[in-house]
Symmetry: C2
Subunit: 255 residues, 2 copies
């Protein structure tokens, strides 16, 4: 199982939208896919028509106690993938995690127990660099950073790069940014084109050639609880996420 | 001094852009303005041409130790306001705050020491509901929630409302949402118009009549380190934030 973590401290750059629609596209190729929502907003969960987890056992119990990820799996047969829902109690989880030894190593261990069941696990993370995001990054096989071609977003990239270096030094890992994804891209905006070209020049190896265009249906799809491909198979957003799935397979499966 | 807190757990809704440009507009009326950046991304700080605080003493030392806010004030004479910069070490501040008694009450106490110097203090908060955001909300005289007229953003509003109720119950306060600000609004999008109308119908008292349109210059201004009014005084974004300043003065100063 390859663990793909979609992360960026910068808010509103398309992390949830990317996790959800890339997963749907990968599942459409017949790959076995698990989605994991570790954001207390639980947008990935509600964007698929689910309810935020308020039950007895949630993802927080997996991070803090002996609960298993397997017990939280919800099947989404319509979309050919499974989801482990997020929960508002993730807000307080970070504070409690500070009390256990090496808290940010726990998620990776629990995910390993599911390795035989799935081809990919995609993790949607919160807009922060706290213990939840670090837990996801430490579990990652591949790291995908969505960003907009705007000033604050590009600044956020430097913060992500610094954080990954710090994690590698502290835990002797070898994490790197595997894919930078340009989202909500508007070809008409000169500033966005300039920033996009600079990214290609300076980080050509890491930047996905697939660019996700601004597409209103991507913002509307969550209100219907479905990935965009199940609403309009020919929408710009659908085709862009199919292309991304293709590129992810080519790049991450060494085809 | 009135403390205006700009908050929303949802990322990328225009918190920083609103704090920065509303402050500039209020300052242009001759009011004495202080900006406080408690987001570890420190976009408010860098969006005004400043450097993220890495010095000896930062805002984290104010929240955790005896440092004063006054010692951190940076003057911005070009924009007629003062700024207390954000810092990347705010990331670890939340964990350390958990060790002191009633940590989220500290910011309000420290801000009170500056009350005689300013008419308004505007606080830009991170996209989360952790201790930093709760500290800001507990210090607030007025709470402004920027949001986009999109599905995930509206969901975020319910989370903010719940959080405010929880804070009121836990600390016997009487916080409420004073202003909901529609940002990056695109009149052409039918979905956005529908969501906007529903907001007006259900929360008419709280929704600002000023709507901030999508305006590319607002996204470009931070790369020049200036509020938009100092780049193009006639831009749609400039005029919208002037209108918002007027509405804030009318509504919050009981004119
Ligand atoms: N390509 C796109 N075109 C148009 N709208 C988009 C696109 N991608 C995402 N959106 C919308 O933009 C907003 C931000 O996207 P999303 O919520 O996925 O970002 P995020 O990084 O997960 O945010 P957060 O930091 O709050 O977790 C959402 O309302 C979403 O529906
Ligand atoms: N009215 C607007 N029109 C066009 N772009 C805008 C507008 N307001 C904000 N932006 C841009 O949208 C992006 C998100 O705005 P901003 O960073 O202010 O949101 P935020 O809520 O502070 O994000 P975060 O959750 O990461 O703190 C930024 O790149 C900003 O420049
Ligand atoms: Mg998200
Ligand atoms: Mg911000």
């Amino acid at each position: 199982m390859k663990i793909l973590v979609v992360a960026n401290q910068k808010g509103g750059v398309g992390k949830t939208t990317t996790t959800l629609n890339l997963a749907a596209s990968l599942a459409a190729t017949g790959r076995k896919i698990l989605l994991l929502d570790i954001d207390s907003q639980a947008n990935l969960t509600t964007g698929l028509g689910g309810k935020k987890a308020y039950e007895e056992t949630t993802i927080t119990d997996v991070l803090l106690d002996d609960a298993s990820l397997e017990s939280l799996i919800q099947r989404k047969p319509d979309f050919n993938f499974d989801v482990i829902p997020g929960s508002p109690d993730l807000i307080s989880a970070e504070l409690e995690m500070a009390r256990v030894p090496d808290p940010t190593s726990i998620l990776k261990g629990k995910l390993n127990l599911l390795a035989h069941k799935y081809d990919y696990c995609l993790i949607d993370s919160p807009p922060s660099l706290g213990m939840l995001s670090v837990s996801a990054l430490r579990a990652a096989d591949k790291i995908i950073i969505p960003l907009q071609c705007e000033h604050f977003s590009i600044e956020g990239l430097a913060a992500m790069q610094r954080t990954i270096i710090e994690i590698n030094e502290a835990t002797s890992s070898n994490l790197k940014i595997d894919g930078i994804l340009r989202t909500m891209f508007d070809q008409e905006k000169e500033r966005a084109r300039e920033i996009s070209e600079k990214l290609e020049q300076s980080l050509s190896q890491q930047v996905f050639s697939t660019i996700i265009p601004r597409c209103d249906l991507l913002a509307e799809a969550p209100s219907e609880g479905k990935p965009i491909m199940y609403i309009d198979p020919d929408a710009k957003g659908t085709l862009a996420y199919f292309a991304l799935a293709g590129e992810v397979i080519m790049k991450f499966e060494d085809k």
